[in-house]
Symmetry: D2
Amino acid sequence: MTSGGVLTVVSPQRVGSPTWLYQLSKAGKLCVPAMNVNDSVTKQKFDNLYCCRESILDGLKRTTDVMFGGKQVVVCGYGEVGKGCSAALKALGAIVYVTEIDPICGLQACMDGFKVVKLNEVIRHVDVVITCTGNKNVVNRDQLDRMKNGSMVCNMGHSNTEIDVASLRTPELTWERVRPQVDHVIWPDGKRVILLAEGRLLNLSCSTVPTFVLSITATTQALALIELYNAPEGRYKQDVYLLPKKMDEYVASLHLATFDAHLTELTDEQAKYLGLNKNGPFKPNYYRYTSR
Amino acid sequence: MTSGGVLTVVSPQRVGSPTWLYQLSKAGKLCVPAMNVNDSVTKQKFDNLYCCRESILDGLKRTTDVMFGGKQVVVCGYGEVGKGCSAALKALGAIVYVTEIDPICGLQACMDGFKVVKLNEVIRHVDVVITCTGNKNVVNRDQLDRMKNGSMVCNMGHSNTEIDVASLRTPELTWERVRPQVDHVIWPDGKRVILLAEGRLLNLSCSTVPTFVLSITATTQALALIELYNAPEGRYKQDVYLLPKKMDEYVASLHLATFDAHLTELTDEQAKYLGLNKNGPFKPNYYRYTSR
Amino acid sequence: MTSGGVLTVVSPQRVGSPTWLYQLSKAGKLCVPAMNVNDSVTKQKFDNLYCCRESILDGLKRTTDVMFGGKQVVVCGYGEVGKGCSAALKALGAIVYVTEIDPICGLQACMDGFKVVKLNEVIRHVDVVITCTGNKNVVNRDQLDRMKNGSMVCNMGHSNTEIDVASLRTPELTWERVRPQVDHVIWPDGKRVILLAEGRLLNLSCSTVPTFVLSITATTQALALIELYNAPEGRYKQDVYLLPKKMDEYVASLHLATFDAHLTELTDEQAKYLGLNKNGPFKPNYYRYTSR
Amino acid sequence: MTSGGVLTVVSPQRVGSPTWLYQLSKAGKLCVPAMNVNDSVTKQKFDNLYCCRESILDGLKRTTDVMFGGKQVVVCGYGEVGKGCSAALKALGAIVYVTEIDPICGLQACMDGFKVVKLNEVIRHVDVVITCTGNKNVVNRDQLDRMKNGSMVCNMGHSNTEIDVASLRTPELTWERVRPQVDHVIWPDGKRVILLAEGRLLNLSCSTVPTFVLSITATTQALALIELYNAPEGRYKQDVYLLPKKMDEYVASLHLATFDAHLTELTDEQAKYLGLNKNGPFKPNYYRYTSR
């Protein structure tokens, strides 16, 4: 992805941030300017929150035809992906529990109406376990052993490490492939746990990504490349940068027409009152863009 | 608020950020280190998003006994406050329109299911206008003239400038105080528009702030003062700082017990995988904490 | 309420149906035709479902300033009132449990995303208990003894019998009136339970009824009286009747203009296909008008 | 479906009621007792409300991969099916309009936060049209002509008559099958309207029915047959009956275990107070079982 001394990076999986790129930079091994487009606001919201809000439903339906109403679900991790998944499932009548390591995200889950629990507190009685953590071994063999017959487990977070799938490849357990991407793992007592996509990303394996989301991502990348290419000598050093906010806003504005959305323009008086340029950027860099 | 060379600032109104403090710093007139506690994550979410989600309902009910179901409402501004107000009203059966100047927030409103319009497109037929912008003259006399009989207008944003109330103090309009904080402004043709709190903040004037929110705010301020006081020489210069993320997380963790929320602890292996300290902070500084 | 041989009955409390009127009829003691307007569709939905969806929030806020987000609430009874209360609280971030005696309503609660429990399973850890049953002693002294410090209990159902308030008037408990309609009942160990309106109806005691709801109710009653008065000899005998569906529809149609709602008219071809008169009634008598 | 003098009827399409059976009875041509299981409470809610709430999402995703967030959708008909479809789409961020012929259902749509419009008012700008009416020619050629490029139309109601598909089979329009169940109908100016399942039922053609729903339906039918077979001479004449409420409740109670739902039992004192048998039935025949 190097291109004449510039580098844009799209995190291939949703890990919250392209950690390795920052590590490269920290180690002094980054030889070109890089732009972390993964953490631009617009791309983040669409790739993670808005897209996963729909693809969790899509992925579960296409693989298992499960009814959501009344199901007990535990969502591990309440970042953007976890927020999207839990909101969608709750909206369709599921009872959702959340696990978190971060007290701020944990408090957000409380305020959004989710009981924050340790996985062990609910693992015996939930119908569905969904990992959205960016972490590894979030669901381990011990917990899989305690899941109930007919329950299912899947990964919406990143990579294939969140569920300890390797621990299920032992002689006493039988695997039965019931359809593509759907395995029944069978315990000696006959208990079946339904594993989706062998623990790889459910939304990439078993659902589709709407073209609208792809358009957001592609636009963000293209603008980042244009910026790196056109930037005057010295604006960017061998470091990792976030997309300039104005470009982030530009990506969003290009996609508003789809929704027939009409923005309001600041008057001169208002722009002066707010200390803003009428064309943006409209927010300080540390602004967080809560979704709701 | 200066205290032996330290300064913490709580924005007296919700304006998104304590703009004037940054202006002071920029002008080189800040003579002590200052901490912008207003923009700490936990305080922001509670003061703005979570609190306003409830107080918009409370404020409207206590003043007007209005039924929310079926009402057409326009929320001006889709920041934290606007997000809270529109989510609550939608949840109770109102039809909500949103106005925005920022394309990112506008796109968020679209994805949350709100039609993004210019105020002029809907002003004639809405039942309620709510300002949440941090801006001035968002609703002007021309628009007030076009509001329908019995409609109401109120401010959840900041100060008393968002609605151009001064423009309503002209001879041809009659003001009738129907109860505390509630005025009927009467046009020559008999049309009445209901103005709440004379355009001052509805939630401060006409509803209550739950003690839980006050606890979050007070804890944040106290920790900021302690940090500034205890910090080793040189950690803070004459500049504006955000609350260290670890303290932000600490505020949140102190309030989790109320909800009987149980956080998960990272294993050593997981902490290493994520490159995190097991005790936090858990997120990079640019992380945005979407609410949903 | 007798009027020249006619009788319309509005249930003074929401008990699901004016039971005593049917008992009178069964006993042969009804001396005039009577119309059970309480169970007309339009009135039922507004008095119970739509009104309580808002007044539970209003009543709790005005009396206690409680924050809804993250609160654990148990709603006893999942009829129209219970459905309204639980939907509103869930929408504002509370975690809601439901108790039911009727398997159909219990299954509805499941599909709406509420855990159906026995009161004893959750009484120790909930923050709020709300009765909506039409029954008596739904919360008894034994359960009140087990509620936690600072929790609250109120009645949205009917009468003042749902919470066994009499059982709290014993020497070892101290009552402290902290504001009108709000009592702290104090146990010997210092535990306080907050009792609202002394167990009478929260929405009648501590919140307001929107004029729109009153308009629906008054219109329904007036039309019932007109029908009974104008009906040809013999249409109504000494029995209890439901409001004719066409009148029920007429009440609704009179209130649509408020919402600028535009109904569609059947074409002749469509009316014939459906076997309906173009002016209604549009549904068979047994139709149930699910709200969602 | 006659069986030794008994007849149970499951409406093959969701038309609100098995109209023809009542017509047969009215015409005196029914030669055996018949049970209208279609209108038993439990079956109705699951087949129509709860099932369609999920299958509208599933059907649209599998056929078109559309993103729901921000889409403008019109749902024609606000019965059980329309309520399910509009609630689900709204929950996922779509902006939903509703058309209705019945003022009661229209008022319900208002209170649920949907703008009630005539189809012609919105047909030019909506992205998706969904019919749920039980009626015919609800979307006619004139309206299809005015739909915008890229918009889609589908039927969730009954049969294949709701969209006037026949009117699209004219020489100037080109049909292009882009995948199974998905046709692009192309106007001379290049405009494409996406027609799903050629106007037949989307949920039967393009999504799956969860086994839980099938279990509810099968149980209801089986119990109806058992009742008709076992009933003492004379209980049922050559007429159409609804499933006895107690059996309806029994169907529900058999399915509660799936959700680990725990019903509350009436005490003797409570049963007496309510005038109910402790084992049910718990509601009068005219009770309507609002869902929310």
